[in-house]
């Protein structure tokens, strides 16, 4: 639709005319500010959640988990991309000096912040999932979405 609009404006003498081709979907998925009535997952996402690296010792991840009060601890690479998630039981069962990467769950499911929050919470309820990792399209972490936060 926007290419047609751009061409029409060019044809009527406007210039220069630019087309943001990836559009609103790209903008919202990047967790950028918007105006409007939408209730998106990003608005309810817990930010600043506990993170660590794959080479970090398990004992450190357990300390982070205890301080945060909820899990998991998200495992990021140097670019901030989510590589996995470390959960309490596997961490507690591993030696404290073991690397988090050896016990993390790789390939966790993620959603974009542009998802409709109520629809996402509904889907999570059906799947009996209480929280989900929210990332940008490039895989970088935004935070954790808890379905229960929709009601609080």
């Amino acid at each position: 639709m926007s290419p047609r609009a751009a061409w029409r404006l060019e044809a009527t003498g406007f210039g220069p005319v630019y087309d943001y081709v990836a559009g609103k979907a790209d903008w919202l998925a990047a967790d950028l500010p918007f105006e409007g009535t939408a209730q998106l997952a990003g608005m309810f996402t817990r930010r600043g959640v506990a993170t660590t690296g794959e080479r970090a010792p398990v004992a450190e991840a357990l300390r982070l988990l205890a301080a945060q009060g909820f899990g998991p601890v998200l495992v990021l690479n140097q670019a901030g991309v989510v590589m996995g998630a470390a959960y309490r039981d596997p961490l507690a069962a591993a030696p404290g000096e073991a690397e988090v990467g050896t016990v993390m769950r790789p390939g966790v499911s993620t959603v974009r912040p542009s998802e409709d929050a109520a629809a996402l919470a509904h889907r999570m309820g059906h799947a009996q999932v209480t929280r989900v990792v929210v990332t940008r399209a490039d895989g970088t972490l935004i935070g954790l979405f808890f379905a229960a936060d929709m009601n609080s």
């Binding site: 005319v17 943001y20 559009g23 918007f34």
Partner: protein, 84 residues
């Protein structure tokens, strides 16, 4: 394709036609910072649901009738929902 890389050629097409230029997020922010007008061309309901900060709504079907509301001296950026 990296974000911000022009998605198709812009400028003069060789037959006296000026082509619109595809841009990404980074160029959009740079251009709006320089005074470009941001226009969402989706229907009003989509605009009300969510739009980029500072964007005005001129749905494609009404665009011809509304061009008088745009400043011809400033660049224009149009967008819709996604690629299509």
């Amino acid at each position: 394709m990296p974000v911000g890389e022009p998605l198709r050629g812009g400028g003069r097409a060789g037959i006296g036609v000026i082509m619109p230029t595809g841009i990404g997020r980074d160029e959009l922010r740079e251009l709006t910072g320089q005074g470009a007008q941001l226009v969402e061309v989706l229907p009003a309901g989509d605009y009300d649901w969510a739009h980029l900060p500072g964007a005005v709504n001129h749905p494609l079907k009404e665009l011809d009738a509304r061009t008088g509301q745009l400043d011809r001296s400033r660049p224009v950026i149009v967008y819709c929902h996604d690629w299509y």
